[in-house]
């Protein structure tokens, strides 16, 4: 594995988006992972629709029928991938733009599919496996506990104490080997995470969190997706 890796340098990551006042982080995480996978499969970076997931994806967990994707009221990336396998794929952002509201009817047009899921998997809680899947398959959809993100401005976040209850869906796009930790007087490795709260939040819309001990549950819900190769 390389010591440093960032999918942004390869052109596999679209610009930072803004979910607005809508609990649709899960759709941004899922679409971001498919954007990366589609880039790997086709060589083209396309911005994909989150609103299609908000409006049309009501997929439920097979083992828990009342746990379903519910637009601005929350969802899960893996059930979104299930929906995408069944529906055929995602339209582009341009064809099905984000409004940040739910309650609208589903306007999915199958003839406008811009990217399709071939397969998806969940990755074990092992930082080397997460890094290996990131490098091999592209950006990963992950869950995180966002309690420290409400006040985050920049730097490598490495809280002494952080809950592992996952409440936010984001996109893991890379990692670095040497983020300076002033309190420990040493360089610490970190993950690079794309958020969906606009560019004015964090480090131009990104968050860095230390690697090594599942801080804020960052290693505990990781999924990878592959896209169908099109000409």
């Amino acid at each position: 594995l390389p010591s440093d890796f960032d999918w942004r340098d390869q052109g596999a990551v679209t610009g930072v988006k803004n979910q607005g006042s809508c609990g649709s982080c899960w759709s941004f995480s899922a679409s971001g992972a498919l954007e990366g996978a589609n880039f790997l499969a086709t060589g083209k970076l396309k911005s994909l629709s989150e609103q299609q997931l908000v409006d049309c994806d009501h997929e439920c967990d097979p083992s828990e029928a009342d746990a379903c994707d519910q637009g601005c009221n929350g969802g899960l990336m893996t059930t979104a991938f299930e929906y995408l396998l069944k529906s055929g794929g995602l339209e582009s952002e341009a064809d099905y733009p984000y409004t940040g509201t739910d309650g609208g009817s589903c306007k999915f047009d199958k003839s406008k599919i811009a990217a399709s899921v071939k397969n998806f998997s969940v990755v074990s809680i092992d930082e080397d496996q997460i890094a290996a899947n990131l490098v091999k398959h592209g950006p990963l959809a992950i869950g995180i506990n966002a309690v420290f993100m409400q006040t985050y401005i920049g730097g490598v976040s490495c809280p002494y104490i952080c809950g592992r209850h996952l409440d936010h869906g984001v996109l893991l796009v890379g990692y670095g080997s040497a983020g300076y930790s002033p309190i420990r007087f040493k360089e610490k490795p970190y993950w690079i995470i794309k958020n969906s709260w606009g560019e004015s939040w964090g480090e131009d819309g990104y968050y860095r969190i230390c690697r090594g001990r599942n801080v804020c549950g960052v290693d505990s819900m990781v999924s990878t997706v592959t896209a169908i190769q099109t000409s």
């Binding site: 074990s124 006040t151 976040s157």
Partner: protein, 125 residues
């Protein structure tokens, strides 16, 4: 052995207690909190429907200044402070900007069972 420094990461009771002066336990006077709040309103384009709503948001903002300082102590490698969410309570923030649904009783990535578990990849060489 790896991290030999031990720092106090929780505030002194004296520091944390009370909102005397309107500074939310920050050692800031009411005027200083008001100045920070005005700067926040300008920066993030906030306008509130009534004076009561503004007063409420200002008190939430003061509490979030205190919270940011707590986060700074617990997370010294990052910078914490005023963000676009500084006039929201933690519950409002969760409702409006989070939204990851967690399956009850699930652990880690094993959400959908073994059929979707990623194969183990080689990480050496």
């Amino acid at each position: 052995a790896e991290d030999p420094l031990i720092l106090q990461v929780v505030p002194d009771a004296k520091e944390e207690g009370g909102f005397g002066g309107g500074g939310g336990g920050l050692g800031l006077g009411a005027a200083a909190v008001e100045a920070h709040f005005v700067s926040f309103e300008r920066r993030f384009g906030r306008s509130y429907a009534s004076a009561e709503e503004r007063a409420h948001r200002r008190s939430v903002f003061a509490a979030n200044l205190r919270r940011a300082r707590r986060h700074q102590r617990l997370d010294p490698g990052a910078v914490h402070g005023v963000t676009q969410f500084s006039d929201l309570t933690p519950a409002e923030f969760r409702r409006a900007f989070l939204g990851l649904r967690r399956k009850k009783g699930s652990v880690g990535g094993s959400i959908l069972g073994s059929s979707h578990e990623a194969p183990i990849l080689p990480t050496n060489d």
